[in-house]
Symmetry: C2
Subunit: 410 residues, 2 copies
């Protein structure tokens, strides 16, 4: 298993060269990783450009050239002879083409899905069965309904199937899913997870509700004011309703639930410990929306933010109630494997809870298990550095490469 | 790589069936892990008992029988015919015997060192070169001098060498070293680590120095009183001077330093980023001892604790200074790869620092990197559950098994 074995580099087939995708490509480029990985194709929602040098060991084509060669998805197909390595492929066709290349070259290929769409997740199982590995920060499959998850879990049980990793899908690259996997696989049982999973909602409520309350002589900030400045400063999605809906938290909580108990129980991997049933994935998570009913249809972000000012009262009341109880408000996800409860809501936490001292846009997870009984294992970090999500993807790819015989030192 | 391939189970050769060692054996026993691992030998400091059924697939000998068959190290060797599978082996001889078994059986073997001694660490490199993997919570090698570390790092570069993992050696099983490895290998650079690494010192100073100060009308607890009750309640080593020396923190900090920058730079793994030079391992870490000079030679734990009461003044002064600055005292390790500073000392932290809100015997690490720039990645958990250290060992063994083709589901 030593590094000196001349193993063929693992092929990286990247789909979705957006913000995270480009950072992923960048992070594969340094000298330490170059002997282990080679970017063999880059795809957008319509086109794929292949590195036709990939078969030859001297091929030094960099991802930059591939990116340049990739036509925008809006462009009509062109028949130019210089573009023979460019193809218009549907997801299933891409998987076929990659599997064929893997067979021909004899080297393993990882499909790296950096899209947020549901097109590729539908063919993950096919890709795994065809011997490709899949690494992705895309939440669609792991947070999806049982029909989408189950085939992926089952595919991994097949001889010759590839590997599936999605650390970047949950917790902005914090080492959460690998930690859960280590706990569960060594026989621990997840009892409860409490989690602040939205950087934006963390940012908002860390200001709205603090242990020490507002400074003497200063009025407490109103909810709508905080959302307005968060939106203005780029701390929210383009439309803040996307954050306030709680959907992103629900998606991440669904993923945590899936990794807290086995995806599936088969003869080969019998279920140990309790199972959370999430037949509809995210849709099975009870989710409190913070969007005032009157504003659900306001499409214009600025009009939405203006409208919020009319709806500060309920938030003010919740803050007063929390303050009276000596607690703070945080929008958190909770999953309890004992009761089967799984929900996202604005909740009160006491001052000695790890969530009470959160600042900025920190995410935080408190994991209670059979072994971490009285005091949880806590993992905490900033909420939205895309660089860190990208590095979770690359770390997953390194994990795959290690399992295909590559060695990266300590 | 699927689970359905009938791979031979990985052999587990456990040395040191003490508290952690027995928990490790227990955690290998559940049905989910049984197809993947087989305990083939158990050793104490003198004897090794081999499972002679290990070659036959139907061999169902459990670790309990091996434990029963293992004579205490104090017992004189016996020539009884029934004990042919018991041998008196020095560490190097054990490695030879295991390597021979691995070659004969064709299945991989992991040497699991659950001792705290330095006997086995001296032969880790030999074991790796002989194709055995090494998994251990023993701090001696990773915190040891360059002469001990370097051969281990180099051995891993050789073709056919085994793998080395030691997550359990640092942070009581918290996912620290794997997280550092993920960061460093994806091109991040560790800038600074601040860490509360001793459960005992955490327990003592979380009571001694709090953000809110002593309760109104109640006198602040004196340092010696807290140590006395911690000792009485079993929160310290048998002799509390062992904790107060800071040595355990220094050892763990040395390990963190080794995983923050490459162990070694060779042509195959050129150093990227800064390197912390620790030629003497732990001995290179500047370490503040909290043992009053007059008490360094007091061998009796109770006399030591009684003596501490005469030395409360300097601690009182440090607490007052911290309080005046609006800060709290924590015994922490700090490593700074930019300045090369690496030290353990009683230090002041401001109320919004993650260490200020620690309670119980929590450990906490704040990791600042090129990517986690302004706000650190924080990992936190209880300080001394041996169960969790054991599960770090088993998780490492699972990692080795995965890299030898085994599959454990998500």
């Amino acid at each position: 298993m030593g590094a000196s074995l001349p193993l063929a580099p693992i092929g990286i087939a990247l789909v979705g060269p957006g913000l995270v995708g480009r950072l992923v490509l960048e992070q594969f480029a340094p000298p330490a990783l170059r002997p282990h990985f080679r970017v063999i194709s880059i795809s957008n929602s319509r086109y794929t450009v292949f590195d036709d040098q990939s078969g030859t060991p001297s091929g030094e084509t960099t991802y930059g050239l591939l990116l340049e060669a990739l036509p925008p998805s809006s462009q009509a197909p062109s028949g130019k002879a210089t573009e023979t390595s460019i193809a218009e492929l549907a997801p299933a066709e891409l998987v076929d083409a990659l599997a064929q290349r893997a067979n021909q070259s004899g080297s393993h290929i990882i499909l790296v899905d950096c899209t947020a769409s549901d097109a590729l997740p539908k063919v993950y199982a096919t890709a795994l069965l065809a011997g490709l590995s899949v690494v992705t920060p895309n939440k669609v499959a792991p947070a999806g309904p049982h029909e989408l998850c189950q085939p992926i879990a089952e595919a991994q049980q097949s001889a010759g199937a590839g590997l599936f990793y999605c650390e970047g899908a949950c917790g902005a690259g914090l080492p959460v899913l690998s930690t859960l996997a280590d706990l569960v696989r060594t026989g621990d049982e997840i009892v409860k997870i409490e989690a602040v999973l939205s950087g934006t909602l963390s940012y908002i409520f860390n200001q709205f509700s603090t242990v020490q309350g507002p400074r003497a002589g200063e009025p407490a900030l109103r909810f709508s004011e905080i959302v307005r400045s968060a939106h203005r400063d780029g701390h929210t999605e383009p439309h803040p309703a996307e954050d306030l809906s709680g959907r992103d938290v629900a998606r991440k909580l669904a993923i945590l639930a899936r990794f807290s108990t086995p995806f599936t129980s088969t003869a080969a991997t019998p279920a140990t410990g309790p199972i959370l049933h999430l037949p509809d994935g995210t849709a099975s998570v009870s989710t409190q929306s913070l969007i005032p009913e009157e504003l659900v249809d306001v499409r214009d972000p600025n009009a939405f933010v203006d409208g919020l000012a009319e709806h500060d009262a309920p938030f003010e009341r919740m803050r007063s109630e929390a303050q009276a109880a000596g607690k703070v408000l945080r929008y958190a996800g909770v999953l309890d494997t004992q009761s089967g409860r799984i929900e996202c809501a604005l909740q009160q936490f006491s001052p000695d809870h790890p969530f009470a001292s959160l600042s900025g846009s920190h995410l935080s997870l408190a994991i209670f298990t059979k072994r971490y009984k009285d005091r949880p294992l806590v993992i905490q970090g900033p909420g939205y550095p895309v660089e860190v999500t990208a590095s979770a993807v690359v770390a997953d790819a390194i994990r795959v490469a290690e399992r295909y015989g590559h060695s990266f030192g300590l």
